[in-house]
Symmetry: C2
C-alpha cells in the first residue's frame, strides 16, 4: 500500500488509467486507451522502428517466407528512443499503477504483420512461456502495446477472449522438445491452446478484436488468451509491445535461459523520462 | 425483354430479389439475403456435404497441410440433393432474374474454411479465370453462396471491395505457366491482384465482410474483387457455392479445357424443382 501511495504522488497530474479504464483492465483483461502518443512523437517512433527493421540483429525474426520481417525483439536494448518510450510517464505510470510497484522492462518488441503478408499468431497466453521457459514466478506483469498503424477488422488485429485472464494458466502441452526458443517467435508456437480448449472458452466468453487508431495504447494481462489472423488488407498493422514486470517478480534462474533480447535480466526499477521522446 | 417477362410469369409468387436487393446487387456487386433455407432443409444439405467431404473424388482439394479438406468441387454432378438445391425456385429465380435468361450450373463447390485451420483465399476476381482458362465470353454469370454455418467477423468470412465489379477485369499476370488448373483451387491462386492494385482499389472502396446466419444466401458478381482470411475461431465457416451462367453465355471451346468437375459443359437450361429439397 505504501508503494502505491508513493507512486501516485510522484506521478500525480499524469494521465494514468482512469477508474473506468482500470476496472475494465481487471474485468476484461485488456483496455484500449485512445490517442496517447501524439502524431509528432509517433512519427519519431515509426522512423526508429524502420531503422530497427533494417538492422541485421539476432532479435529480428522473419516470416515463414524467409524474407518478410515478422518482428524485432529487444528493441529497448538497442535503441535509446525506444528506451525513453518505455519510460514515458504515461506508459510507466500505467504499468506502476496496475502492478502496484516499481517496474522494469522484461521484453520489448515490434510485431510487423505487414500488409497482405503478415501471418497468424495462434491462440495462446503469454504467461505460460515466461513461467515455464524463463522462471517467472507470478503473472505480476503487463503488456502495453502501442499501435503504430490503425488496427482495423481487416489487417489482423489482436483478438482476445475477454475475461480469460481470470481462468489462470490453461495447461497446454509443449509442442516440441529441446531448447528451441525460436519456435516461440514464429507462427507455430510451443504453447498453443488446443481446439477443444479454445472452443470451450470462446463459447463462454466470445471473441473481441482490439481495434483502434495509430498512437493508441492497448494494455493487456499476460494470462489473457489472444491470437491474431492474417493481414488481408493493403495496410500494415505494426504493433510495438513492451512487457513490464514488477521489480518484485524478477524470474528465478533457469538452466537454459533464453537470449537477453527476449528476457532482460536487468531488473533495475525504471525512472520516468520527463523530457519528451525526442529530447 | 421477352425472356425476362416469361420468366417473371413462370416464377411469380416465388421470393426472388426485392427491388432493393436487386439494386444493391448491381451497385455493390453483392447482397446478403437472410434466412432463405429453413433449418430442416439446411440440415439435409449439411449431411450431404459431410458425405461429399468423406468421398475420395478428384474434385476434393486439401489445404497445404495435406490432410484438411479445403473444398469439394462439382457437387451437383455427384449429389442429387445438391442438384435439387441448385434448382430450388428461390435460388434459380434469383439467378434468372439477375441474368435475364435461362441459366445452368457452370460450377458448384463447397469451401470448408474449417475452425482454426481454414486458410487464406488471396484477393481475386472469379471472372478472369473463367475468361482466360475456360473461354467464357462475357461475365453474364452469378455466384450464389449458401452459408452452411454462421459467418462471423472471426471465422474467415468472405471479404469484398464493394463496387469493384464495376471496374471490369483488373489485368493481372498469370503467376505460373502450363496446364496447372489445380493451382487455382489452392491458397496460391494464379490470378491474384498485386498489392499495388489492391491498395489503390481498397483505398477508394474500402473492405466489407459478408457476415450472416447459417441458411442465408450471398449473391455476388463474378467480377467483384474478393478474398478471405484465416479462420481464427473455433467454428467452421463452410460455404456452398453455385455459379449460374446464362445459357446464352456458354464458353467457346478451348485447347486445354479444365476438368468437368470445375467447368460443367452441359449448358441445358435448368428447370425449377418445386417439390422441396428432401422430396
Amino acid at each position: 500500500m505504501q508503494i502505491t501511495r508513493v507512486i501516485t504522488e510522484r506521478l500525480s497530474g499524469e494521465n494514468m488509467l482512469t477508474d473506468s479504464q482500470f476496472a475494465t483492465y481487471h474485468t476484461e483483461g485488456f483496455v484500449v486507451v485512445p490517442d496517447v502518443i501524439p502524431p509528432a512523437d509517433l512519427a519519431l517512433v515509426r522512423d526508429d522502428v524502420e531503422t530497427l527493421f533494417a538492422l541485421d540483429h539476432p532479435g529480428r525474426m522473419l516470416e515463414t517466407d524467409g524474407t518478410t520481417v515478422r518482428g524485432v525483439h529487444g528493441c529497448h536494448q538497442v535503441s535509446s528512443l525506444f528506451d525513453r518510450l518505455t519510460r514515458l510517464p504515461r506508459l510507466l505510470g500505467a504499468a506502476e499503477q496496475v502492478l502496484e510497484s516499481k517496474v522494469y522492462v522484461y521484453q520489448s518488441k515490434v510485431n510487423a504483420k505487414l500488409a497482405l503478408r503478415g501471418d497468424v499468431w495462434p491462440w495462446h497466453q503469454d504467461y505460460i512461456f515466461w513461467e515455464r521457459e524463463d522462471g517467472m514466478r507470478t503473472p505480476r506483469a503487463m503488456n502495453i502495446a502501442l499501435f503504430l498503424d490503425d488496427a482495423t477488422d481487416f489487417n489482423g488485429p489482436l483478438l482476445f477472449l475477454p475475461g480469460s485472464h481470470l481462468l489462470g494458466t490453461v495447461r497446454t502441452e509443449r509442442r516440441s522438445a529441446g531448447d528451441d526458443w525460436a519456435a516461440n517467435l514464429k507462427a507455430d508456437l510451443n504453447y498453443q491452446l488446443s481446439p477443444r480448449q479454445l472452443a470451450s472458452v470462446a463459447a463462454d466468453l466470445g471473441i473481441r478484436a482490439a481495434t483502434g487508431t495509430a498512437g493508441s495504447l492497448l494494455l493487456f494481462d499476460p494470462r489473457l488468451i489472444h491470437g491474431s489472423g492474417t493481414n488481408m488488407s493493403p495496410q500494415d498493422r505494426r504493433l510495438l509491445l513492451i512487457t513490464y514486470n514488477s521489480v518484485d517478480n524478477a524470474p528465478v534462474p533457469v538452466p537454459n535461459p533464453r537470449p537477453e533480447f527476449l528476457v532482460s535480466t536487468d531488473s533495475t526499477a525504471l525512472t520516468a523520462w520527463e523530457a519528451g521522446l525526442g529530447a
